[in-house]
Amino acid sequence: MKYYIQLALTLLIFCAVGSGVLAYVNAKTKPIITERKIKEAKEARESLIPGSDFERHTAVADTEFEYYVALKKGTKDAQGYVFTAIRKGYAAPVKTMVGLDKDLKIISIKVIEQNETPGLGTNSALPAFTDQFKGKTDAELIVDKDGGLPGKSIKALSGATITTRAVTYSIKDDINILRADLASATGGVK
């Protein structure tokens, strides 16, 4: 009996020391990590719509949806919107940061996080794919394989239609949420 209590206590000590070390390292590193994530997101926003200050908003109807209004530096005129669209791709969620102009036309997009099949879905992060979103409206966000017309649709990546759909339709749906929010009285640009 005494032996088993000893075993349990030994294990407890190991776990306690382990948790203590983890708690210490977490407390030390967490502020640094959070700060850098905020900085990275800020830099990504600035690369989409340069020369702006960003103001954070939360959609009224869907509080999970956040977007940023880009205000021109100096004049403070609203010149566009930035949001991050997320949808499950082939492997894991694909996160795309989208910059829109005042009329909700896409200025540019950036795939900021994906874990798709190397050589197929990972091509979604390349300019050859993301550049075709430039200047598109939400009506033109349709994958060519789903009946989109050439020039007015998104050309699917070969071997990665699922990834293409995740990126395209997550953006399309989020533009619609944003539009609805801007139209509602409480949302929109002050």
Binding site: N26, T29, R36
Partner: protein, 196 residues
């Protein structure tokens, strides 16, 4: 002499992937391209060396009956510390290796070496075993990845090695390609071994 022997046995004779057949899950997942394979291999090597040293150092105070839970606690705590420290202080490295960290926690090579070697040997030999097994793992991952990346994407370390007219064999970089490649490589290793 024994240091050197423990160091080199992981390369071919007791290669963790092809001979001991440990760590199959990360092998299949990260051998799609050579840079992924190197990233995973390096991260696993680092953790393996450190966990081997630690396990060997505490082996005298580890009661035999509960050694496995203690190994798991030590390894998991260690990997989490590495993950957090990397994210905070070397973000560039964390960006390229970070996605492999969760895979290392469940990498049975680490636990396998703790149980089979570090728990029974001294710190120096455990260090050698960690380096050797880690490099052996990196080596075999790179071999699988080289075959898969060249056949499936026509590139090696993102450099184009096949002519543009080459139509990539997509199956090679998809999951079945990993099983096929691994099967042929293991068969080849066994053939060489049996011939001796």
């Amino acid at each position: 002499m024994s240091f050197f022997r423990e160091l080199t046995k992981g390369f071919i004779k007791e290669n963790p992937t092809f001979v001991i057949v440990l760590g199959m899950c990360p092998t299949l997942a990260t051998s799609t391209s050579v840079d992924n394979a190197l990233g995973m291999g390096m991260a696993a090597t680092f953790v393996l060396i450190c966990s081997n040293i630690m396990i060997a150092a505490i082996k005298n105070i580890t009661p035999d009956k509960i050694r496995i839970p203690i190994y798991v606690v030590v390894i998991a705590a260690f990997v989490s510390v590495v993950d957090m420290a990397m994210a905070a202080y070397v973000p560039a490295l964390h960006k390229s290796l970070g996605i492999f960290i969760p895979l290392i926690v469940v990498n049975c090579i680490i636990l396998g070496r703790a149980e089979a070697f570090a728990g029974k040997n001294n710190v120096i030999n455990s260090l050698a075993d960690g380096i050797g097994m880690g490099l052996g793992f990196t080596l075999s991952l790179s071999v699988v990845a080289t075959i898969r990346e060249i056949l499936g994407n026509g590139t090696w370390l993102k450099m184009r090695v096949m002519p543009h007219s080459f139509d990539p064999m997509l199956v090679a970089i998809l999951a079945p390609g990993a099983f096929i490649t691994l099967g042929f490589l293991m068969a080849g290793m066994n053939m060489l071994k049996n011939r001796k």
